[in-house]
């Protein structure tokens, strides 16, 4: 295990972590404010990637395409909220699961009808396509560094919004004492609309950032959604800070586990056994992490409310 490999995997882990954070932030706020389980959040990640890919190709300019795409993701968030989600907020969790699952089927199939099942081309913007030498022997892609920067920037912006603005105060209050906030005259449904659409835009941004690295296809949201759930559960529902810490933790554990678990096993239990158990173990690590955290703290690392 060389230092170069370790550092590059560390950076990869952090980069996966910030992508997860962008997705999980919207999820955890929606859970927190309305106790609403939104399975369709992964769909918004997928739509973000498609919107930006199409608009960049149409406008020929990455920045313009990104801005328009994010605007589109925001609008789609509003539309979905008004059409479906607002009717589910006061319902049973079982119905929320069902309704949002239905939305996944509809949107995924519509995307498949329009774009087909084959992955869509999403080239890295030319100016950011190269790589830089971070240390001797380590050439790291610029785009991945951009993702890290954007993720940290959004995290800082969210921290400011949630902790230093009136809207953020309402969100924080709403996530712990929704009845009280509502009784004080705050329109909690409108708050939910704003939080929901904003979360949809963040998920779209995550999709756009990840677009050049993963294959942009109709089911791309499925995998990220469930890992984002793990992030939300580990961090504690409703906590932005928890989502950030646990997203980085999950990103690091997953990436480093995939890179090094097999080697560690080889030293412990021999080569042939490790070759068989390594891939299984490294794909389980994130969920084992969740199991360990939950057996110690059932409401997550920063979860105040026992759900």
């Amino acid at each position: 295990m060389t230092a170069v490999l370790f550092v590059s995997q560390l950076l990869n882990g952090l980069q996966l972590g910030v992508i997860l954070f962008l997705v999980a932030a919207g999820l955890t706020l929606v859970f927190g404010v309305m106790d609403f389980i939104n399975l369709a959040h992964g769909v918004q990640y997928m739509l973000g990637a498609y919107l930006v890919a199409v608009l960049v190709a149409w406008s020929g300019n990455f920045a313009v395409g990104l801005l328009l795409g994010l605007l589109g993701a925001l609008v789609l968030g509003f539309v979905l909220e008004v059409l479906v989600f607002r009717h589910l907020t006061r319902r049973d969790h079982l119905e929320q699961v069902l309704g949002t699952f239905g939305v996944i089927l509809i949107v995924t199939e519509l995307v498949r009808i329009v774009f087909g099942s084959a992955p869509l081309a999403f080239p890295t913007p030319a100016a950011l396509a190269g790589s830089v030498t971070l240390m001797p022997g380590l050439n790291y892609p610029v785009w991945r560094l951009v993702i890290l920067g954007v993720g940290v920037g959004v995290a800082a912006l969210l921290w400011y919004l949630v902790n230093r603005t009136r809207l953020g105060m309402l969100v924080r209050a709403g996530s712990t004492h929704p009845e009280t906030v509502s009784a004080l005259g705050v329109d909690i449904d409108r708050l939910f609309l704003v939080v929901f659409a904003f979360g949809a835009m963040l998920a779209g941004l995550a999709g756009a950032m990840a677009g050049p690295l993963v294959s942009v296809e109709p089911t791309m949201g499925d995998r990220i959604l469930i890992v984002a759930f793990v992030v939300v559960v580990i961090g504690g529902i409703g906590s932005i800070k928890g989502a950030f810490v646990s997203a980085l933790l999950v990103g690091l554990v997953d990436t480093l586990g995939r890179a090094f678990a097999a080697d560690l096993l080889k030293a412990l239990i021999g080569k042939s056994a490790a070759a068989a158990a390594g891939p299984a173990l490294s794909s389980m690590l994130v969920y084992l992490l969740m199991a360990v955290v939950l057996s110690v703290r059932p409401s997550g690392l920063f979860g105040g409310r026992t759900a």
Partner: protein, 325 residues
């Protein structure tokens, strides 16, 4: 709604007799459909009946968890897939006897449900839903990494299960008979369980946990047992499905399968176990018929689901409480 109101139904021996009726109707309906298919010499018909009965068994086991225990598991595809993998893996070691494979499928699925349930049951509400989903996804990736058993793509099972070497499941009709029999036995056994003191405790725990605890009763053990039973029965359904398609892949455990099982349970109403059978029939038939017209049949399923949830909100709530099943 008071606790008494929730737990009374469908207890008592009169309740049990009532509960028997839908069970018998289900079994007879499946048997009649199979007889018609057999009479017409349609092997496609027999395949469909067997497949539907297997999914009905999985849906019934989930309905037991959701309707009776209030345990909204979004990972029920996991025990289903584990049952299927039991057939595949045992087959690779030349074990094909049904009397081994069925208990093996039940036990391994139940074991998984208990191991993950022990952690998941520490939580409530959305946490429980997300954690069951996450654990199911974990086992999905584990299955995908089993390169000796096909990895991502899965692989064909060595042969259909046998009975001491006799190839009793060679015809789809016989397999359908086995599926219907298992469904019937599961429904009867669960009906008994629902009407028993144990079933009463489960429903009481769902309705008002604090009161139950104040009485000195601990719902945790009951819920864990329920997860074991529900998971084990789903494992049996998995054994049936693996025999049906003679192919096992991680796709059996895809979380969309968990979602579709929930759809079956809720469409049929969670108040009665037999409702899940109806839901399973509706979804499987929808799948087949829409699937013939368009490859985008999931769009239709999605529209149906969203329409049902949005339009029948009030009715559905009543169904969830079991007052108008």
């Amino acid at each position: 709604m008071t606790v008494a109101e929730t737990v009374r139904k469908p207890g008592g021996s009169a309740g049990l007799r009532l509960a028997l009726q839908p069970t018998l109707v289900c079994v007879f309906a499946f048997a009649a459909a199979l007889a018609v298919a057999h009479g017409l010499g349609s092997s496609y018909g027999a395949t469909m009946v067997g497949r539907t009965a297997a999914f009905a068994l999985a849906a019934v086991s989930l309905s037991f968890l959701i309707g009776q225990g209030g345990l909204v598991s979004f990972g029920h595809a996991a025990p289903l897939g584990i049952g299927a993998y039991a057939v595949l893996i045992a087959g690779e070691y030349d074990v094909t006897n049904l009397l081994v494979v069925l208990p093996l499928g039940f036990a391994s699925a139940a074991l998984f449900s208990v191991a993950t349930g022990a952690i998941a049951l520490r939580t409530r509400g959305v946490y429980f839903i997300m954690i069951t989903l996450a654990f199911a996804q974990m086992i999905f990736y584990v299955a995908a990494s089993l390169s000796a058993f096909g990895g991502d793509d899965g692989m064909a099972v060595a042969s259909r299960s046998t009975l001491f070497g006799m190839r009793v499941l060679k015809s789809d009709t016989n397999l359908a008979i086995l599926a219907i029999a298992l469904l019937g036995v599961a429904l009867l056994a669960l009906d008994r369980l629902v009407a028993s003191r144990y079933g009463l405790m489960l429903r009481a725990g769902r309705a008002n946990e604090t009161k139950l605890q104040a009485l000195g009763l601990d719902p945790y053990r009951h819920r864990l047992t329920a997860l074991a039973i529900g998971g084990g029965l789903a494992g049996l359904a998995g054994v049936l499905l693996a025999n049906q398609v003679e192919y096992v892949s991680p796709a059996t455990m895809n979380w969309h399968v968990s979602g579709e099982l929930i759809v079956m349970v809720v469409l049929g109403g969670t108040g009665r176990l037999a409702g899940a059978v109806l839901g399973a029939v509706v979804v499987t038939v929808l799948d087949e018929t829409l699937g013939h017209f368009t490859e985008h049949w999931k769009l239709g399923l999605g529209l149906v689901i969203v329409a049902v949830v949005l339009l029948r909100g009030a009715d559905l709530k009543a169904l969830l409480r079991g007052t108008s099943a």
